[in-house]
Every structure is written in C-alpha cells, then in structure tokens.
Amino acid sequence: MREWAEYSLEESGGRATVTITGPLTVSGIGRLDPELRKITDSVQFVDISGVTRVDTVGAWVVHRFAEDKGADITGADETAEVLLETVERSTSDAPVVPPRSKIFGRVTEHVGAKVYEFGNGVRHNIGFLGAIIASMGALLLHPRRFRTKALVRQMEQVGVSSLPIVGLMSFLIGIVIAQQGAVQLQQFGAETLTVNLVGRITLRELGVLMTAIMVAGRSGSAFAAQLGTMKLTEEIDAMRTIGVSPMEALVIPRILAAVIMMPLLGFYACVCAVIGGAVIGDVLLDIPFLTFLARIQEVVPATDFWVGVVKAPVFGLIIALAGCYQGMQVEGNAEEVGLRTTAAVVQAIFMVIVLDAFFAVFFSSIGWI
C-alpha cells in the first residue's frame, strides 16, 4: 500500500507548529501539498523531524510553505538540510509556458499572419522558381557540375517505383468509366460510343490528372519530408559550407525527374486505363478486346494525346516545386516537417487542378476539340 505524507497543526502559547510525518517524497506528497495550500492561519514553525524520507520535491513543498508563512523549519536532518538548501538556491518565478495574449488579439494576429504568409508564400514560390531557373542556367554553362546519378535515382523514385500503383489505379479508373458509361449509353442504344468516352476522357484529362495527384501524394510529400529532415539535421547547412549548392545537388535533380517522368507516367496511365476499358467492353458489351483497341485508334484524334502530354511536364514541375519549396522552408522542430509535407501535397494538388481548368479552356479555344 502506498504511504502519504500527513500533517498536524498544534498551537501552544500563541505559536503554531505544523508537524509533518511520513514520506516527504514525490510519491507521497500528492495529498499533503493541496492541504498545506489551504492553511490560512499563521504558522511559526514547521517540524519535519517525523518524516521518514525526503527528496527534492518534498523539500521544495516544505520550503515553499515555510517561505509563504515566514515560518522556521525545525527537525531537519542532514540530508533534508542539504536538500532544503539546494531548492532554496533554485527558487524561480519564471513562467513555464510562454505568455499568451488575449483571445481577440490572438485571432486578429492569426488572421493577419495568415494573409501575410499567403502573400509571402506566392512571392517566395516565384522567387524559388527563379532561383531554380538561375541554377539551371549556371548548370548549362558548367555541365560537368550536373548530377546525373542523383537525377537517375530520383527518376527511379518518382517514375519506375510508382509504375505498379499508377498502373493499377488507371486500370481501375478505365474499368469504372467504361462500366458507368456503358450503363448510361445503353439507354440510347449507343453503347458502342463507350470506346470514344474511355479513349478521349483518359487521354485528354483523367490519365494525366490522376497521375499528377498520385505523384503529388507519393513524391511531392517525399521531397518535402526529405529536404525538411535534412534541413533539421543541418545537412543542408553542411553542404553549403563545403561549397555544394543544395539547389544543384538536391532540388534540380528532383525537379527534372518529376518533369521528365510525368509525361511518361501520364501516357502509361492512359494505356492502362484504355486496357481497363477494353476489358469491360469485352465482358459487358461484347466488343472484342482487340476490336476495342482498334476502334480507339480510329475515334481518338492525335490532338487528344497532345493535350494530355503537354500538360504533364507542367504538372510535374508544380508538384516538385511545391515539395522542394516547402521542404526547404522547414525550420525548428519535427512537427514542422509534418506541417510542411501536408502543405506541399495540398498546394500541389490544388495548383494542378486549377491549371488543368485553364488548359481545358485554352485547348478548346485553339480548336483542339
């Protein structure tokens, strides 16, 4: 059973004495401390000769109580004496958490900071893009500084390793489009148009868009987390002091890898989606698999392919830019890495969708319908 420290209050001749007994330790102080705080009478002496054990927490509670009441501590043995002296030397009134301002001030401050951050974020993003272009230019002048190995490694990370998941996702999307399209088109007896639906929508829009979302989630977040952690562990500072530009060694390979791999992945995704559609055509619509593929060639104009492929590198650039920018902005603690990674993914997906809308309008206006 657990023991608790206890106290008793005695008065004799106008002098009050608080006598404390039991273990005056962190494990035994829990009940005594609030009770001592409730004593309002004046106390002249605190007798601790009856305590069995004492540690710094116990010594602190007795010291604070005696200090508050202006009382003298009696009956302290050698150990208690030393501990009392130790805690007395360590007295402090400083706050344990940073002071917080009032709610109204906090809210307005928060809103203001957000607005300021947004403006700053846009400016810095553009600045970051500029810095990338500048280092690209420097690399063109000194092509030997270019990190081919790093680029190939990033291309593998961004592109090759994501082939299975991008393929599976696109295949399933192809199936869903074909199946849903077939159900609707059958009502007009136009189920053979499912081929047009699958071919055109995947090549123009969905193939590249879904790939971009997957790459943002997979690689954009990885860029932010990698660079952010390197920033925290001072690896990036170490690179700078050695004379290696983090822009050239870390950022450019990632940006280029995303820009190069996105069109390839996007086209691969379209192929997988068309195969998915063809499978459904074979099963549900009695269109033979090979006939479905042959019809795709007839009904999908080449411009559809270009509409998809032109967008892909731009999306890749946006994703890598957001990931690297947020990663390089990490400062402080581990929590920041998580926040920045989230920001990188959200920013990338949002920008990809906004730009996709612009592209849709643009291509329609130039007659690539």
């Binding site: 962190v26 009940r31 130790t86 360590s90 706050p95 344990v96 402080g332 603690n333």
Partner: protein, 304 residues
Amino acid sequence: MAEDDPQNDSDEALLDEAHDDIPERFTGDHPISIRGLKNCFGEQTIHEDLDLDVNRGEILGVVGGSGTGKSVLMRSIIGLQIPDDGTIEVFGNDITAAEPDEVIGVRNRWGVLFQGGALFSTLTVGENVQVPLKQYYPELSQKLLNEISRYKVVMTGLPEEAAAKFPNELSGGMRKRAGLARALALDPELLFLDEPTAGLDPIGAAKFDELLRELTDTLGLTVFLITHDLDTLYAICDRVAVLADKHVVAVGTIPELLETEHPWIQEYFNGPRSRAAAATNERQSDAAAEGSGKALDKPQGAQA
C-alpha cells in the same frame, strides 16, 4: 499567474487516479547487475560475456574507445535494446524478460539523459520536466508541477527564463542541462547519463560535475555515467569500468586500474591528457583542503 489555475475542485478526482503500486526504495547492493551479456548487430558482435555490477550509491564511469558499445550497453540496461543473450537485473527485476514498453515499477525509479538531450520538441523545457511527473503522479496539482519544473530547471544551472523556451531555442549545452532536469524530474534512485559534459564549456562542465556529486551524495543516487571527459572521471567517479574487447576488462578506482596491464587502459590513463586532468584534480583537491570553511567533499582520484 495565468497558468497557475487553482485546481482545488479536481484534487480529489486526481487522488483517485493515483497509482497504488509505488515500490519501496531499493536496498540491495547492486541496482544494476549484468551477467553474460551478448549483443550483436547482424554479423558484428558488440558485446560478448559482459559482466558488470554497479554498487548502490556510487558514480560509475564507463569508458571505452569509440565503437566499443558504451551507448549500446546503456540501451540494453534501460531495456531499449533486447540482448541476444545474458541477463540484466535492475533493482532485482529482470529487464531482458520484459518487452520494452512493459517494464513497470522500474521506469519511475530511473532517469535517463540521452546524448543529444532527446527533449520533446513541441513542449517547452518546463513542460518536458512535467511529462514524467504527470505520467506517474497524476495526483500532483498543476500548481505544484509548475513549481517543481521551475526549481528543477534552475537547479540544473539553466537561467530561469529557460523554463518557457522550446528546445530549438536553446544551445546544445543548455539542451543537455534541460535533459538532465527531465531525467531528475522524479528524483530517481538511478541515473543514466550518456556523455553529459560533452560539448559543454569547461566551467559549465565543472559545475555539472559538482551538481552531480552533490545530488548523488544527498539523494543517495546511483549513477551510470558514460563519458570521455577525463576531468569528470577524476573529479567525481567512484569507480570506472573499462569497455574493450567486447566486454568489461576492468572495474575499479583509477589507482586500481593503473595497476592493470591492459594496454588500452595504460594508454588511456597515462596519455598526456589524462595526466593533465589528474594534475588539475590534485591541485583542486589541495586547494579545497586548504581553503577555509566548506571543503569540497570530492573523492581524491576515487574512493575504494
């Protein structure tokens, strides 16, 4: 003060939550007892047939070349590294038989200072100190917790404003002290320190040594101290254990170690740095003995 909300109403509720199983203070001779410890990482054997007993109330310095597994030994004792063979008893409980998160009744009786401080980065220093207190003693009021964390922070030699700062706002040396404040939060019986004075300035390191000696003497602490700091070894360690050749080749006071034949020990304690540290320590001890008033109760070299 804003954070000192009175909690009188909830005190009773908090008391109900209090754990009942507070173990008695350890009274045996060896708080740590290791037999036949073996640790491997893949093909590489770090420890083999390692035996070590730590006496109650002593400061045991652990030395050894880089890569001899000093930190791994500490991680094994505190249950973070499951050994491949052997037994480790802490306060008479077998650590190796339990899962890392399972060892209860031991964890609230030790404090650990990791090499880098390992402070929780989203909490202030004061809140860091409160984490173990809240975990084991939920009955303590927030008011008392704040008071405790404040004096612990100052006790370890940090300026009082440091309590409200986040770890990333502190220098490396301050982080170490804050780590010590957290390790001492529960007034533990056993303290593990992994290179506590590395990276501190000499004045700060000497103060750290002094503080450690004082706490050990007054609280009856047992300290397992990994260090490369020769001054620390001479100034405060009662005994020194030497790790080499995958096990503890010798344990004893520094004069005792000097009599052993082991080449690494000879090189270590007879090197120029070691002799300088020994000379400094002798001078300080003489000065302390001559000085009027409170003579520092430091063991000269070491005590048997």
